[in-house]
Every structure is written in structure tokens, then in C-alpha cells.
């Protein structure tokens, strides 16, 4: 599903910062992978490259068989909106839109009709348990609810890849747990690949594989055995 071959990312011109150093990685379809590391370890750079928001300095990145590094901005954006759902620590909902409007936005951006998008967004909201809050705006929702909306938005177009960037970072433990539960359920249901960037070891443990990153390189890899359900 995700294949990185010898990917480097450098910033700056005078004094070059090597954010990622010759990274190689392969993640299979349906796999749940957690990426852990301290601040400045290169997690964000990695995430930006994978979702096509940024281009690598060298190397190749393939998502679902598509070579991202060879694409232009528009093509990468299209790839992103068809293949990648994103969840952020700060939710990043549009404050002017209601929950259902936020959820339907990706579909509308793809050019689907209003009726179809609303129907699918409604179902998705129902799926995350927020049917009653559909017409509320983000500032009227709690943190957990906001993240549910964000998850609904990320999955509404059934992307094969779900990227979650510290999804529980802004939430209390109980709510965080709920969100992780929801992600797990939905992962199973949608059969998507999940890449979870987190500080939270508990969250990481719920994945199939944990990668540790430091100074732009993967320094550790650990496979987690789950009692109830293993990887597909």
C-alpha cells in the first residue's frame, strides 16, 4: 500500500537540515502501523510526504501503486482526495460549516451532487454516532465530537489509506480511548490501511506494527501480537 524507497527530505539552502535520511519502508494493504518518535524526529515530514503535501528531495514514494513523486500538484491532490483520508490532532474542521457540511466537503470537492454527498455524509455521521449533531457547527461540539466529525470526513469517500496524526493528542484519556475504539472498528469495517502517528504508547500498541523514528531515520520496528484479531 505504501512504499518508500530511499526517500530523503532536506530543508533550507545555506544550512541544510536533513529531515528524512534515505528512508525505506513498505506497508501492506489493511495493515495498521504506528509511527512513534519525539518532536523533530521527522514524523511530520514523513506524513506530509506520504499524503502528497510535500515532495521528497530524493527517492520514490508509491501509494496504492501510484508514484507520488512524479506527479504535479493537482494530480497529487486528486490522488489524495481519492486514496487518503486524514485525521489531525487539531481536528481542522472548517469553523463555518456544520458537521454534515464538513463531512460532505471531500465528496463535493470531487464534484458529486449535493443530494448524494449529503446522503453519504449523513450515513457516515450516523456511523460515528453523531447523527443528531449533524447541523451543529464545530464550535458547538465537544472535542471528541469534533474528532468524530473529522474521522467521518476522512472516511466518507472510503479511502484505501487513513492517516491519523495524533488523533487523541487534544483529548482527555477517556475520549481518546473512544476515538481509538472507533478507529479500530472503522478500520475493520472499511478494510483500509491505517498509519497512526502518535506519542501515545497505548495507542501505538493497538496497531500491528510500531515504527520508531529519530533524527529522520527509522531506528526501531516492533510487531504487536493481538489476541482477538491479527492482521489480514
Amino acid at each position: 500500500m505504501i512504499q518508500l524507497v530511499d526517500v530523503s527530505k532536506n530543508y533550507g539552502t545555506a544550512e541544510i537540515v536533513h529531515a528524512l535520511k534515505h528512508m525505506c519502508l513498505s506497508i501492506d494493504r489493511g495493515e495498521r502501523v504506528a509511527l512513534m518518535g519525539p518532536s523533530g524526529s521527522g514524523k511530520s515530514t514523513f506524513l506530509n510526504l506520504v499524503c502528497g503535501l510535500d515532495e521528497p528531495s530524493t527517492g520514490s514514494i508509491k501509494i496504492d501503486g501510484i508514484e507520488l513523486s512524479s506527479l504535479g500538484d493537482d494530480a497529487r491532490t486528486r490522488a489524495r482526495r481519492e486514496k487518503i483520508g486524514m485525521i489531525f490532532q487539531t481536528f481542522n474542521l472548517l469553523p463555518t460549516l456544520t458537521a454534515i457540511e464538513n463531512v460532505s466537503l471531500p465528496l463535493r470537492l470531487q464534484g458529486l451532487s449535493r443530494r448524494e454527498t449529503e446522503e453519504r455524509a449523513g450515513k457516515m455521521l450516523e456511523r460515528v454516532g453523531l447523527k443528531k449533531r449533524a447541523t451543529h457547527r464545530p464550535d458547538e461540539l465537544s472535542g471528541g465530537e469534533r474528532q468524530r466529525v473529522a474521522i467521518a470526513r476522512a472516511l466518507v469517500f472510503r479511502p484505501p489509506l487513513l492517516l491519523a496524526d495524533e488523533p487523541t493528542g487534544n483529548l482527555d484519556t477517556a475520549t481518546g480511548e473512544e476515538i481509538l475504539d472507533l478507529l479500530e472498528v472503522l478500520h475493520r469495517e472499511f478494510n483500509s490501511t491505517l498509519l497512526l502517528v502518535t506519542h501515545n504508547e497505548y495507542a501505538a500498541k493497538r496497531c500491528d506494527r510500531i515504527l520508531t523514528i529519530r533524527d529522520g531515520a527509522i531506528i526501531g520496528e516492533e510487531f504487536v501480537e493481538h489476541a482477538q484479531h491479527g492482521s489480514d
Binding site: L53, R78, F91, N92, T96, D165
Partner: protein
């Protein structure tokens, strides 16, 4: 402390050059239009005055009697008055040349023998250019021309060239030239001098003079001599100092000037909105910075000071740029206005370059800085009130703006209502300035309601925008609904600008409607022969002979000689129209609008009464049955007012009298218009051709069919309302600048949102579309608010301004069509204005925008 703040501010300027540029531009625009209009006005008046003064030479007093002139016997009386050292008679004629440029020539008829005591002609000295002075006076075709005019048309001494005179087209012989200095500069050098008696003869002025220029004995005061002259001359004759006479011209162009004054304040007001908007951007862009500053312990007061200090510097900068720009604008506009004044009022002036007045410059800087400070005050205050924790917090937490409390809403409605009530029921005697305050109340009310209005209209627009513009459309309008105040300033600027455009347009259209009905009623002759392409020419007239000749053409039933003059009345001036009353009343089919029809029909042709236009009656408080007292060159004239007419010929008011009565008292038999009625079944075009053949190369005459004449009058009306075009340009400039401004703030404020949309799959093209649609939405809301404001302002215009400036009201008229036409224009302009912000939005770097804090 403040030093550090300055450092921060200047860093801000550096990194937000565009915003600084737009703010300074906004101030500069407002100031430049204000300054330009003031300067144009001043230049025009200065040019009018300068023309009067240059033509006056060393004269300390001028004896005049409106435009009609006075009998030349007055000269002996003036010369016999003790304290008069020199008294020289003058006739001024603007004659039409037959050169390619169809230009005009100002001919000064003077007693060339003695006139040089008053005026310095700077004649060319070379012997060969001197023609025998005896020949000059002996031959009435003798003319002296300025060298500028001679050079322009290749004329030398001894050459002949044609001019249109009251006695037809005549050849004149150049007998000498004078240098382009002193009087040679007047009227752009298109000036010539003739012997006054020859001028009387060829321009059919009888034995009248237009003016006597007097130099007093230096041993006596000007005022004493003035007083003595006033006592010894008939009351219809005015004795004034040239400077005062120049000032008197201000009165003449008052209506146009006041209109321009309003435009200049509109420009400033609109500038205020732009400044407000710019500082909103400023505060918004520095939201986080302010939060940090507040968090590290900066007092609220200093936050305010920081922004106000910035406003001060920008205000000064913008004002200076505005003055420079305004000066050049004024230079360009002065010529335009000069020709408009010449067309409408027949006043001769040739502004060469705009005069620079420090007075206006300082006023403009003060107003520009004041507007900047006022515009910056609310955003600065808001910045100071900012809760530092909020400022540093995430975007979802930022509360929606509290749009408008009920108190404010009620205040807005109340202000509008108050303004309307005051406009409706306050007597016009309070004066136009106070009435403008009433209009200001309405405007203030509208401004208070603006955010709410923006929200409502945006909400109403949302389904439509969503339908036509998809999710981008909806997102675009959402921005306006959620943050109505952000777009309010731009919408407000659009509102004010468009309101004036719409309501002036409405006023003009209503006025034209009235004019049309009036002309159909009163100007119903089949053909009209006019002596000028201008509304009227104060100096060039026909002789009665032409009327007689035209009357003799087969098919012509009657040719009426009409004199249209402007006479002094009650420290102002009024139009006087002398008809052959019987013919006139027969032709229009009625005698009076108010008054006894029978009495008027009986007495008017006998010269036993006068008719007044309704606006004359209103302006000078002379009504039906009163006695009108006029001062004529031959003494006082008193006649009862026999009727009131609806007449829109002059904004000063019009007096109607029989031609014979006019001739008797003014000793003036010249003709300005010939109204021709044809026998039934005669083709007007055929007769028109015949008259044109009759006058070809003989008279400078313009023959119009009834329809053509009406079209021509409308052309003049448009020229009078030239300021409306200026308003339109200002409105468009403001629309552009305001929209660019607002969109930039919108883009910068929504950088994160744009980043999110991009992150979840929004294409660059979609972002561009969103921003452009927001521009369209703002323009639609702007036009709508302008249309609403125009509703109130049009009422003010037709009800109050018309009355104050011209003494008549016109029916209320709402310019639907104009608004409908404006909408797509403003939409296209806003799309153009939105292009650059849209590009910027599309280039937002997603990673930075959604930022990982």
C-alpha cells in the same frame, strides 16, 4: 517601549508590503479625489476670476448690467462722476471661427485709442506690423489678434479671415498682433481686439456697451467712487470691483460646485471605509502577534497606541501621495470642467494648469490623517480588547462574531427614520448644510445596520451561490455569513459609492423625465434656430432680420424671436426670457400653470405683467399677485406677477415677459432663439434645409427640429451632471480597491481553512474559484446595499437637494434599470479585483497553513 513597538510594526510592514501598499493607496485615493475636486473647483474659479481680472486690466471698478448691457449714454454719466479718472467701455463677444477646429475667438471691443490706459496689450512693436490707426478705426473689419491665435491659424497682418457675426459671415482684416502676455493670455490666447463702435456695428449691439471699466482717482477711495457711481447711475446698473465680480461668478456656477463638493466628501467617506478595512486586515493578520505581546505584558493602551501610531504614519504618507496624485488628476479634470462650465453657463475660462493651494493641501492631509485614525480606531480598540489566550488558541475555539445586538439594530433603524423624518418635515430654510447632516444620519443608520444586512443578504445568497458555484460557492458565502464585519467595510464602501451613483442617476432621470414633459409642452415649435451650440451664448446673438427672413420662407407660419438673458436679481442672478407673448401663448396653447388664464392672455402681450417660473417664485419668494421689481438699464421696472409657470430652463429661476417690454427697458433687440411654427403638412426637414441654406456661410446658426433640439438639451443636461461620471469612476475605483483589500484579508484570515480544504483534496483551481466567488458575492451584496441606500438618498436628492440647488423638486424615481445594469459591471470588476487574491490563495502552502503547533 514604543521604540520596540515601532520595530515590530516596521517588520510587519516589510513582511506585509501589499497590505501597507493597499492601505496607503486607500488613503491616497480618498485624499486625491477630495483634493482633486477641490483643486479643480479652485482652478476653475481662479481661472474665471483671472479672466475677469486680466480683462479688467487696471480697472478698479466695473459697471455692468447682467448680460444685456446698457445704453452707451451711461458712459458720459460715469465719466462725469467725480473721482472717476478713467472710464473705458467694453463689449465682449465670443465669435465662431471657420477654422478646422471650429474654435471660438473672444473679441474685446474697446476704444483702442484710450483703452491702453487700463489694459496692457503688449502689441508687437515691429514697424511692419503697425497698420495705420486711422485705417483701423475707419474700417469696421479691422481686428487685432493675439500672436498665439495668429500663429495657430497662420494669420499675418493684412490677412483676412471669416467670423460669424450678427450680420452674417464676415471677413475681418488683421491690422496688428499683440504678444501672448497679459491680456494676450486670456482665453488660451484666442483673443482679439476690435474698435468698440465697429464691434457694436458688426455684432448688432445697437448703441449698447456690456461694461464700463473704471479707474478711480487715486486721491479717493475705490469705495467712495463706487458709492458715488451707484448713486448717479440707474438702479439696474451694477458697480462692482473686479475681484467681487469674479467672485460673483462663483454664484453662477454654484449648483455645479456644490454637486462636486458632495462628490469630494463621498470620496473621503469611501476612503474611510477602505482605511477601516485595511486596519481590520492589519489586526487580523497580527492576531497572534498581539496575543503574544499581550501575553508578555504589553498593556492594552499601548496596543491601541501601536495601531494608531501606524495609522498616523500611513495617513500622512497616503495623504501626501494623494495630494500629488490629486494635483495631476485636477490638472486633467480642469480643462474638462472648464468646457462644461463654458457649455452650461457660457462663462469663458481657460484653466491652464491646476493651481496648488497649500490651504487645500493641509486640509486634505488633516482629513486624510483624521480618516486614518478614525478608520483605525475600532480595529485598534478591538485588538486591545483581545484576550491573549483566545488569540493564541485554535481556530475552532474562536467564537463567532457577535454580529449585532438588538440595541445597535434599533439604533440603526432609528437613525434612518430620524433622518427621513427630518428631511421630510424640516423647512428648506434651514439650509443645505443642515440638510446634509440629516442625510448623514440616514447614512450612519445604514452603516450601523450594515453587518446585519451583509449577513442577511449573504444567507439569502447562499442557496444560489451553492447551486451555481458548488461547494466553493457555499464556502465563499459562508465566509461572509460568519464574519460579516470583515466584508462590511468593503460592502459599505461599495454602498456609499453606488448609492451616490444610483441616486444621482435617479435624480437625473427624474429630472430628464420632467424636462421631457416640459419641453413637449412648452418647446413645441416645429423648428428651433439657436445662436449657439451651448445652452446659450451670453455674447453672440442674432439680429431680428434673421427672424424676418425666416418668416418669409414659404411654409413657415410664424417665426418667433426669443431673447434669453441672465440678469442680476436680489444679489443673485435669474434667467429672463422675452417671448413674443401672443405668439408664444397661441403656440403652447395655455398661458399659465397657476393664475388667471384669461387675464394673463390679455395682459401679457401688452407688457402689463410678467410670469415667473415656479422655482423663481420659490427661490425668491415672489408669488402670484405680487409685484416683481426689476432694475433695468433704463430704470426700475415693476409689473404684477400674472402667472406661475412650470419651467426648468434655469436652476436660478426664470422671468417671462413680452419681447417689446424687454426691448423697451433693456434697449436690446438681439435674438437668441427663433422658434418656428410651420403650416400644417409642411415637412420640417425641408424647411430646415432651407434655413440652413439661408444661413450657410452667413450666420453661425444651429437649426434643430423639435426632436433634435430636445436631444441637444439632454446632452447639455448630461454635461451639467458631469460630476456623476466622476462619482461613477470613484465608485469603480473604490469597488476594485475595496474588493482586493477584503479578499486579501479573507485569504490571509482563512489561510488555515484553505490549507484544510487543500489537505482533504481541494484543487488549486477550486480555491481560486472560491475566492473569486466570494468577490462576486461581495459585489452582489454591495450592489444590493447600495440599492437600498439609494432608496433613501434618492428621496433626499429629489426632495431636498433639488429644492436647495434649483428651487424645484422632481418626482421620486427609482433607478431599477441602472441598478440592474450596474450589477454585472460591478461583478465583472470584482472578478478582476479578485484575480490576484485568488492566485495568492491558490498558492497557500498547505503544510504551513494547517501548521503543527
Amino acid at each position: 517601549m514604543l521604540g520596540a513597538l515601532w520595530f515590530i510594526t516596521f517588520r510587519q510592514w516589510h513582511s506585509h508590503r501589499l497590505r501597507v501598499f493597499l492601505t496607503v493607496l486607500g488613503i491616497a485615493l480618498g485624499v486625491s479625489v477630495f483634493f482633486a475636486i477641490r483643486t479643480t473647483n479652485a482652478t476653475l474659479l481662479d481661472s474665471l476670476k483671472l479672466t475677469v481680472e486680466k480683462l479688467a486690466g487696471k480697472a478698479t471698478l466695473q459697471v455692468t448690467s447682467g448680460e444685456s448691457g446698457f445704453p452707451e449714454e451711461i458712459l458720459d454719466k460715469v465719466r462725469a462722476t467725480p473721482g472717476v479718472k478713467i472710464a473705458e467701455p467694453v463689449i465682449e463677444v465670443v465669435a465662431h471661427t471657420q477654422f478646422e477646429d471650429q474654435g471660438t475667438l473672444l473679441i474685446l471691443g474697446v476704444d483702442t485709442a484710450s483703452d491702453q490706459k487700463l489694459r496692457d496689450y503688449q502689441f508687437d512693436r515691429s514697424k511692419t506690423d503697425v497698420v495705420d490707426p486711422l485705417v483701423f478705426v475707419a474700417q469696421p473689419d479691422s481686428i487685432l489678434i493675439s500672436r498665439a491665435f495668429g500663429d495657430k491659424h497662420g494669420l499675418k497682418v493684412g490677412d483676412k479671415f471669416p467670423l460669424f457675426t450678427s450680420r452674417g459671415r464676415k471677413e475681418f482684416t488683421v491690422r496688428g498682433t499683440f504678444k501672448p502676455e497679459g491680456i494676450g493670455q486670456v482665453f488660451g490666447g484666442n483673443i482679439a481686439v476690435m474698435d468698440i463702435y465697429s464691434a457694436q456695428f458688426v455684432f448688432d449691439r445697437g448703441h449698447n456697451f456690456d461694461r464700463i471699466d473704471v479707474m478711480n482717482d487715486p486721491a479717493q477711495t475705490v469705495e467712495a467712487v463706487q458709492q458715488r457711481l451707484r448713486e448717479s447711475l440707474p438702479a439696474g446698473i451694477d458697480v462692482a470691483q473686479p475681484e467681487t465680480r469674479g467672485q460673483g461668478l462663483e454664484n453662477t456656477v454654484a449648483a455645479m460646485r456644490e454637486g462636486m463638493l458632495v462628490t469630494s466628501f463621498v470620496a473621503l467617506l469611501v476612503g474611510l471605509y477602505i482605511i477601516f478595512n485595511s486596519f481590520l486586515i492589519n489586526v487580523n493578520q497580527r492576531w497572534k502577534e498581539i496575543g503574544v505581546l499581550r501575553a508578555i505584558g504589553l498593556e492594552r493602551r499601548n496596543v491601541t497606541l501601536m495601531f494608531l501610531g501606524e495609522a498616523l504614519v500611513m495617513g500622512i504618507l497616503g495623504s501626501i501621495v494623494g495630494i500629488v496624485g490629486g494635483y495631476y488628476l485636477a490638472s486633467a479634470a480642469s480643462g474638462l470642467m472648464g468646457s462644461a462650465v463654458a457649455s452650461v453657463y457660457g462663462l469663458v475660462s481657460t484653466p491652464e494648469r491646476a493651481i496648488f493651494s497649500w490651504n487645500y493641501a493641509i486640509t486634505s492631509v488633516v482629513l486624510g490623517v483624521a480618516a486614518s485614525l478614525i478608520g483605525a480606531w475600532f480595529p485598534a480598540h478591538a485588538a486591545a480588547q483581545l484576550d491573549p489566550t483566545m488569540a493564541l488558541h485554535n481556530i475552532e475555539s474562536r467564537k463567532r462574531e457577535a454580529v449585532l445586538g438588538w440595541i445597535r439594530m434599533a439604533a440603526g433603524v432609528l437613525l434612518i427614520a430620524l433622518g427621513l423624518v427630518l428631511i421630510r418635515w424640516t423647512p428648506s430654510t434651514v439650509g443645505i448644510k443642515v440638510q446634509f447632516v440629516f442625510a448623514g444620519l440616514m447614512l450612519a443608520g445604514l452603516t450601523v445596520l450594515l453587518p446585519k444586512f451583509v449577513q442577511w443578504t449573504a444567507q439569502a445568497l447562499r442557496p444560489m451561490m451553492s447551486h451555481f458555484g458548488g461547494s466553493e460557492g457555499a464556502l465563499a458565502v459562508d465566509a461572509m455569513i460568519q464574519a460579516p464585519r470583515r466584508s462590511s467595510a468593503t460592502v459599505g464602501a461599495l454602498m456609499i459609492g453606488l448609492m451616490f451613483v444610483f441616486s444621482t442617476g435617479a435624480f437625473i432621470q427624474s429630472y430628464e423625465g420632467v424636462m421631457d414633459r416640459w419641453m413637449k409642452r412648452m418647446l413645441n415649435s416645429d423648428l428651433i434656430v439657436a445662436s449657439s451650440q451651448l445652452l446659450r451664448s451670453p455674447t453672440y446673438h442674432f439680429s431680428e432680420e434673421l427672424g424676418t427672413k425666416i418668416g418669409a420662407i414659404p411654409g413657415v407660419k410664424i417665426a418667433e424671436n426669443v431673447r434669453f438673458a441672465v440678469i442680476p436679481y436680489a444679489n443673485d442672478s435669474a434667467a429672463l426670457i422675452a417671448y413674443q407673448m401672443k405668439d408664444f401663448m397661441d403656440r403652447v396653447g395655455y398661458a399659465v400653470d397657476d393664475g388667471d388664464e384669461k387675464v394673463a392672455r390679455e395682459k401679457m402681450p401688452l407688457g402689463e405683467g410678467v410670469l415667473l417660473s415656479r422655482n423663481f417664485s420659490a427661490r425668491f419668494h415672489v408669488g402670484l399677485g405680487d409685484t416683481l421689481r426689476l432694475q433695468t438699464p433704463t430704470g426700475p421696472l415693476e409689473r404684477p406677477v400674472l402667472g406661475i409657470m412650470d419651467d426648468y430652463r434655469s436652476e436660478k429661476g426664470t422671468i417671462f415677459m413680452d419681447r417689446a417690454l424687454y426691448k423697451q427697458y433693456w434697449k436690446d433687440d438681439s435674438v437668441d432663439f427663433i422658434d418656428i411654427t410651420l403650416n400644417a403638412g409642411v415637412d420640417p426637414l425641408l424647411i430646415k434645409q432651407q434655413i440652413e441654406r439661408l444661413t450657410a456661410n452667413q450666420e453661425h446658426a444651429f437649426v434643430y427640429t423639435n426632436a433634435e433640439f430636445r436631444g441637444w438639451v439632454f446632452g447639455l443636461v448630461h454635461q451639467f451632471f458631469l460630476m456623476n461620471n466622476i462619482q461613477l469612476i470613484v465608485a469603480i475605483l473604490v469597488a476594485t480597491l475595496g474588493i482586493v483589500n477584503t479578499l486579501i484579508i479573507s485569504v490571509s484570515e482563512r489561510r488555515r481553512e484553505i490549507g484544510i480544504i487543500r489537505a482533504i483534496g481541494g484543487l488549486r483551481a477550486q480555491i481560486r474559484k472560491m475566492v473569486l466567488l466570494e468577490a462576486v458575492a461581495i459585489s452582489i451584496v454591495g450592489v444590493l446595499t447600495g440599492a437600498v441606500a439609494a432608496l433613501f438618498n434618492t428621496y433626499f436628492m429629489v426632495h431636498t437637494v433639488g429644492m436647495a440647488l434649483a428651487g424645484y423638486t422632481v418626482p421620486f424615481f427609482y433607478p431599477w434599470l441602472m441598478i440592474l445594469v450596474t450589477l454585472p459591471i460591478v461583478m465583472v470588476i470584482s472578478l478582476l479585483a479578485g484575480w490576484w487574491p485568488a492566485r495568492r490563495a491558490a498558492q497557500v502552502k498547505v503544510i504551513e497553513a494547517i501548521g503543527y503547533e
